[in-house]
Symmetry: C2
Subunit: 201 residues, 2 copies
């Protein structure tokens, strides 16, 4: 998605070879025009998947998935990283998710009230790195007896193994920007490096 | 806002005389049609306030404020309850906020990069109870040298003292639903109780 790649190039910053900061438009300050375009692109990509619910994870997944759910006219559910006080502890699906960035586990939960067998769930997240968060969400969806209709990712770190892990389980993944490298403080996208390799051969 | 009050009546549930559960449409599962209507109503109410940024607090504030910022065509910033790993610890405005519901303090932070003197900030939150979270956000806005243009609340618990606290500081508050009581497992709105009192007199 060219608009997103341009935002990453011009408004993102590389903090290290593993960490891209996009808090100017995605996960702290939010560019609602870009997020709307992203949401509508997900809705377009998964239009034929008969999606009945969109599931994301708080907090950074909410903005990019809002317009997707709105466009598909299905409910959006954001999984909690910590149980809410109004959430009945017995009445949740949960999954333990390890964050390599934060070096900590968190418990991701969705109330049993809002996922049912028969649901076809589109999972959306802001980043795909090692695939731990997305895997946690697929486990929750399947624990509910529902089906994962697909996984939509805003920014994929293609130099990490999340995509391989999820594709290995048979899920359809659509990433709107795929980053092949953050080395040398520079963002390289998968298409560019493929193009570069092609030019060299 | 009648649409919201109807959602609270039909799809909310009263857990105790102090706690209203609205996770069917607001803070876990999200009704994007209702959230869009809410966001647009905030945009309409504060249309003359020359708002330059909308600030909310993760996670439940994001959905109702998304369409407000989008409609006003200004950036949305969601304050973090815990510092993010990509956030420079020196480069944040922060405020310590006590939650009476959770009985715990949390550190609410906004990066100094996204608030400037001259900004006119509309603060949006899902609930107003004791006003601690909203007060924390006003402190952050003012620490940045910016101005609080107003405070938009989705659901106000008018039987708690948040509104009095914030009005005492001179802020304009617009709440889309004002609840006067949750006693007896029943939601009573401010207008209804005023009407009832009027009928009785």
């Amino acid at each position: 998605m060219e608009l997103l790649k341009e935002a990453i190039r011009k408004r993102g910053s590389v903090l290290s070879s593993g960490v891209l900061k996009v808090d100017q438009f995605l996960n702290h300050q939010v560019d609602t025009n870009l997020m709307s375009a992203i949401g509508e692109e997900f809705a377009r990509l998964f239009a034929d998947e008969h999606v009945t619910k969109v599931v994301t994870i708080e907090s950074s997944g909410i903005a990019p998935s809002f317009m997707c759910a709105h466009s598909l006219q299905v409910p959006l559910i954001f999984a909690r990283k910590k149980k809410s006080v109004t959430m009945d502890k017995e009445n949740v699906y949960s999954s333990r998710v390890y964050s390599f960035t934060k070096k900590e586990y968190s418990e991701v939960t969705v109330s049993k009230d809002w996922l049912c067998p028969g649901d076809r769930v589109l999972i959306i997240d802001d980043f795909l790195a090692n695939g731990q968060a997305a895997t946690g969400l697929t486990q929750i969806v399947e624990e509910a007896g529902a089906t994962v209709a697909g996984i939509g990712i805003v920014i994929e770190k293609s130099f990490q193994d999340g995509r391989a892990l999820l594709e290995g389980k048979g899920y359809r993944i659509e990433s709107l920007a795929r980053i092949s490298s953050l080395e040398g403080n520079k963002v390289q996208f998968v298409e560019e490096s493929a193009h570069f390799a092609y030019n060299k051969s």
